[in-house]
């Protein structure tokens, strides 16, 4: 196990340092150590914030996906397949339309409110239906998300915001500078909280009656899960945009390798999310250097492929 940790750490350091070095403006490690103000400026206002934003968003969304899987009891459940992200986008739109001059905290609160309500609606609905078939949840969830996002587009058309809307939805880390990404730090305490509740989520994922039998308040655990997921997704949607499929594929990849114990999976899920987003971001910056391809496009090509593989692999649906 020690060796695995070492390799994992080495990969992270390698990717992180290449992310720091990659860009139009050049500087070397020697410049930083020599105290060159220009190099330090580039590092602290652009490169380092970008790296941190990538790590926080990648870890946050992946953890959100893991929590969602447990509370919906479905391995294809994630913020992007349960309407959470689409409701967050809707909330963002409303926040910018009606409360444009308020502080960003108000915006975050509104986005959070919409995503909690939207997700809660969906989960209550699922609890009433009790599907046997695993693919039904993502299928209905994606459709639900589509309906919500067509409402968002409708409002965007009404207020001439279509172009801004597309720049908000397309996730891109290029615009991250120090001073505009700090909301993402919310992912840290939230993920720790998710870790704290991990065993209870695992119990809830076995089923309502089991959870009740061992003395847990099932509905309260589900509610806590929804709140955690909504906090993680709304901060990412507000700062970065929509990163499709990330929350879905990362927990599944991790559980392919190390099973389903949530307390053990959670750190690895966060780690894999970071690595995946970091690698895709570097790729997006390299393909048409010095321009960039938004990370959402790269992730959705990769994520879509992996998602289809996961569906086909799922023997119970054959």
């Amino acid at each position: 196990m020690k060796l695995v940790h070492l390799i994992a750490f080495a990969i992270l350091v390698l990717l992180a340092s290449s992310s720091l070095m990659l860009g139009v403006a050049h500087f070397s490690l020697a410049d930083i150590l020599a105290g060159d103000p220009h190099a330090i400026n580039i590092l602290t206002t652009s490169r380092l914030p970008r790296l941190l934003a990538i790590m926080l968003a990648g870890a946050g969304l992946s953890v959100a996906g893991l929590v969602m899987q447990q509370i919906v009891q479905n391995r294809f459940a994630a913020p992007s397949t349960t309407g959470t992200i689409d409701w967050a986008m809707f909330g963002y739109m409303i926040a910018l339309l009606l409360f444009a001059d308020m502080s960003s905290w108000v915006h975050l609160l509104i986005i959070f409110g919409f995503s909690v309500i939207g997700t809660l609606l969906f989960i209550r609905f699922l609890q009433r239906l009790k599907f046997k078939n695993t693919v039904m949840v993502p299928l209905i969830g994606i459709m639900y998300g589509n309906v919500v996002s067509s409402m968002t587009t409708f409002i965007a058309y009404k207020y001439n915001l279509v172009q801004s809307l597309s720049s908000w939805t397309v996730a891109n880390f290029a615009s991250v500078l120090s001073g505009n990404y700090e909301f993402l730090y919310i992912a840290l305490p939230t993920s720790l909280l998710a870790y704290y509740y991990a065993n209870r989520f695992s119990a809830a994922s076995i089923g309502e009656s089991f959870a009740k039998n061992i003395g847990l308040n099932y509905q309260r655990i589900v509610m806590i899960g929804i709140i955690l997921v909504a906090v993680l997704s709304s901060s990412v949607v507000m700062i970065v945009g929509m990163i499709p499929f990330l929350g879905l594929i990362v927990p599944n990849i991790v559980s392919l390798f190390i099973g389903d114990n949530m307390r053990r999976n959670l750190p690895w899920t966060a780690y894999t999310g970071v690595i995946l987003v970091l690698a895709c971001d570097i790729l997006g910056r390299l393909i048409i250097f010095p321009y960039e391809i938004p990370i959402s496009i790269i992730i959705s090509i990769l994520g879509g492929t992996i998602f289809i593989y996961l569906i086909l692999r799922d023997k119970s649906n054959a």
């Binding site: 078939n133 693919v135 459709m143 067509s150 009404k158 048409i288 959705s300 289809i308 799922d314």
Partner: protein, 316 residues
């Protein structure tokens, strides 16, 4: 009300809407300009409406279900992706891209090839659960759109602006030359479908039954798939992808009419489709004053209806 009476009323309605589209605000001074803009537009809507309705209807027949349509399974986005890939491979200035006819022929040929492969992937081999198919279709369709997005970013910006109009069709951006070129293949497809209608009726009884009644189901499926591909290419080239429209039209046709014969259903769904698409576009232009697009409305209503269908399917 009898089915034939309903059909007659519906065709009158379709005709009235189309007429409304063409003649509104027409005067002796401006008719030349207005007609030159409006006739291709209404023609494009009518042709696309027919293509979408018929292709969705026969797709449901050969796949024996009531919720799958070619666009939900990603065939529309496949066409758009092929267009962008062609530009990426051949460059924006080659005749394959610029010449409308050659472009249409070439991309339809490529599309047929890809669509056949996709169809094979969906329906051959292991018999898959219909919900799994739907989910794969939706994910694939978003995958195709992402690949499209990727290549539009990678393409040289100069080339991109040059080909943008040809590539991304919409209701307000209709390629007039292409419209007239689509009439012939669409007519051929429709006639051919009418000739196959009897076999399709048998096919609707189920694959096994059709076989025992002497229909070569494999051959029929291949023929129909070819026609569907052509029709999807035509409608997407004319007005772009409209995800749920085919689903709504076919489901409404089955609700409105109690017929099971394809000859009748093909005709009825085509007319209903014209009413809905042209009527919807008219409402968008006149009631909403272009404040929205018809695809937003279709996505909203169609998505809701699709959810409803899924529930119903599940509990039946």
């Amino acid at each position: 009300m009898r089915d034939s009476l309903k059909l007659i009323l519906l065709s009158m309605l379709a005709f009235a809407i189309c007429a409304l589209f063409v003649v509104k605000g027409l005067t002796l001074d401006n008719y030349q300009f207005f007609l030159s803009r409006r006739i291709p537009k209404i023609l494009a809507i009518v042709l696309a409406a027919i293509a979408i309705a018929s292709s969705s209807l026969i797709f449901q027949t050969i796949t024996a279900n009531r919720i799958l349509t070619p666009s939900i399974l990603g065939f529309d986005s496949l066409y758009v992706m092929i267009q962008v890939l062609l530009v990426a491979i051949f460059g924006g200035f080659s005749s394959i891209i610029i010449d409308t006819k050659i472009n249409f022929l070439f991309s339809t040929a490529t599309m047929t090839l890809c669509a056949m492969t996709l169809f094979h992937f969906y329906f051959k081999g292991r018999q898959r659960n219909i919900f799994t198919l739907l989910l794969i279709g939706i994910v694939l369709s978003s995958l195709f759109s992402s690949v499209t997005g990727f290549f539009t970013m990678v393409i040289d910006p100069d080339e991109f602006t040059f080909i943008e109009n040809a590539m991304f069709a919409s209701f307000n951006n209709i390629n007039a030359e292409l419209v007239y070129w689509c009439i012939i293949p669409l007519l051929l497809c429709a006639t051919y479908l009418f000739r196959l209608a009897n076999k399709l009726d048998v096919m609707w009884l189920g694959n096994e039954n059709a076989k025992s009644l002497g229909v070569d189901t494999h051959k029929l499926t291949m023929k129909i798939m070819f026609i569907i591909t052509l029709m999807v290419s035509i409608s997407t080239a004319l007005i772009g992808p409209v995800l749920f429209f085919g689903l709504i039209v076919v489901a409404l046709t089955r609700q409105l009419f109690s017929h099971y014969q394809h000859r009748f259903l093909l005709l009825a769904s085509a007319i209903l489709s014209i009413v809905l698409l042209a009527g919807g576009q008219w409402i968008v232009e006149n009631v909403f004053g272009f404040d929205t697009t018809i695809s937003v409305i279709i996505n909203f209503l169609g998505g809701g209806y699709f959810l409803f269908l899924l529930m119903k399917y599940k509990f039946d």
